[in-house]
Symmetry: none
Subunit: 188 residues, 4 copies
DNA sequence: AATGAATGAGTTTTCATTCAT
DNA sequence: TATGAATGAAAACTCATTCAT
């Protein structure tokens, strides 16, 4: 991937989250990226394409980051903890990407087919939850519901940590918050 | 409040959630509301004012709905269950309002002071959580974190139910999902 | 029809013939017409619509001018002379309209359906030629061919007169040129 | 002349007639010609130069084709018939070139000096008409007027034949149409 | 000679807002 | 109060042209 393309995606991420999609002129994205307007359209064709590509890139990264250090042999409880920890730690280091996902996952600016392609990066989670339900580790819930609840929960944690500012101990907060999810999901 | 004012707010809610803030022309809002463009500006002055008023209206309604049937004498566990049930049931009946809150709570279109005023409708939640922590009913967490986690969790449940379509049994899903929150928060 | 609308059509006519369709910015048309750019789009919606409306207006005027002072009882020879004279005299007084028709009748900027609607203003010519062929006044030709030949011929005369400049005697030239058409069409 | 240069001129002819001068990007011309954009500018320098060269090429070809098989000793009547026949037959086989001449002879895209150079290919027609007028074969008309009338007339015939589609008998139509011109010009 | 990525001025079009009625 | 024609600044996007390779 070209340097210019990367620079455009980087500017777009920051500006979209700060000012919204329609609130961010393509001319501004280009200027911040240090390229000409035409270059943006050379690489992405349309503004919609740009946000769509950005969406996919972030979803792919999130999916990849989550699964780092996990193993298909893991039990659900420890696998989930690892994933949650990966995700939160990545989210804290990449607040703009979290904000982007929150704002644009449900927005009308990302075309439906792109959204579907983005979801595909998280299919491994479904497998993990199914295993946990079968083994009796976690409550018998519809898998999609469980994923949704967990995801929103973790986003809440991340956004709380970010709001506290950089001087708080993120780890400490995670250790405080995570048991809520773990205890909540565990079958009793 | 005049009929025309109400009609404008109603159109604005639908259109903003479907097309975004900048993606919705004031002329379209006015047309859908059956009034002239000038009338919109007569009532709201600017487009920013319109979204700001809409935000407050919805936050006020959400706050009011949540606390229905609760009592300051309630213990945290049963109070929280009532609030959660009120909120989810209102959310399912008003999907556009949920979508609006998800999209615009963190967006740059709502001025900060409006956001603060909106949050004031949920202060009673802080009291409830504090009481629960003091009495040992729930885990000792920062109150703001607990609120954030609970709110995101419930939004996740609502959005899952809405996505399932109208033929699913919303109550059944709530009864399945809610224990996750309750068990998660409870001190053990 | 509003004054502003008329002014826009007038500017557009001059500028399109002088600089071509794509060579004429809408901003320039508006400026020359003494209105804001937005006003142009308020009345015509798109630039394509503007040229299409202009085309129809001119075709309608040409058709109306041609048939002035004719009578369904006329024989073809005298009817045709009258029409030709009307057309040439109108063409000399409205060189921009002639130039517009020459440049845009066959151009890709006028949509096909508009072209068809424009042609409808000249259907009365077909009747005249048919009568002349039946009565043996003029050569037995496909009517459409005869119309096409006559039209191109007269355009040639007009453009010659215009090119000679305003000091030439237009009438004299017409009297010199017209017999070529008349003698050419007459059956011998 | 290189193959690439030829290919560019060929694409340009088709695209200019289909989409107009400003409506045809140089990048498209290059792509259709199977060369890089830079190559187009290597051969022609500017887009204006390209259309200008194309104009001259076509005018030169038209002039050459017309005079084929004529002889300075011919009388005007038979010379003219030969020229007309040559022109119509070439026009039918090269509809894009006819369309190009119709659209761009009077357009602002061809610089005046190019237009003058193009006209030089038809000077031999002036000689022919003068001879016919002197000898009393044809009506005493200004030579330029006579040329203009004849040219427009023949263009009308060609465009009629083209519009009829490929299944019509072009020769038959020419034999029907040509006498109109001949009889019209002949002195009586 | 030939390429095509990069440029940025210029284009069509939109839309918040005003104001005379 | 209510209207909607008129405005013009600002947006997305295009494209002739250049130039390093």
């Amino acid at each position: 991937m070209t340097d210019k393309r990367k620079a455009i995606l980087k500017s777009a991420l920051l500006l979209f989250t700060e000012r919204g999609f329609h609130g961010t002129p393509t001319s501004l994205i280009a200027r911040e990226a240090g390229v000409a307007t035409g270059t943006l359209f050379h690489y992405f064709g349309t503004k919609e394409n740009l946000i769509s590509d950005l969406y996919l890139e972030i979803k792919r990264e999130a999916g990849k980051v989550m699964s780092e250090g996990t193993d298909t042999g893991d039990d659900t409880t420890s696998g989930l903890r690892r994933i949650a920890s990966n995700y939160v730690s990545w989210g804290i280091r990449n607040p703009a990407k979290i904000k982007f996902m929150e704002q644009f996952c449900l927005s009308p600016f990302v075309p439906d087919e792109t959204r579907e392609e983005g979801v595909s990066n998280f299919l491994f989670l479904a497998g993990l939850f199914e295993k946990g339900i079968t083994s009796g580790e976690i409550k018998p819930l519809p898998v999609e519901l469980a994923i949704k609840m967990a995801a929103e929960f973790l986003n809440g944690v991340i956004s709380y940590i970010i709001r506290q500012g950089p001087c708080c101990d993120a780890n400490e907060i995670f250790e405080l918050a995570y048991p809520v999810l773990e205890d909540g999901l565990r079958k009793r």
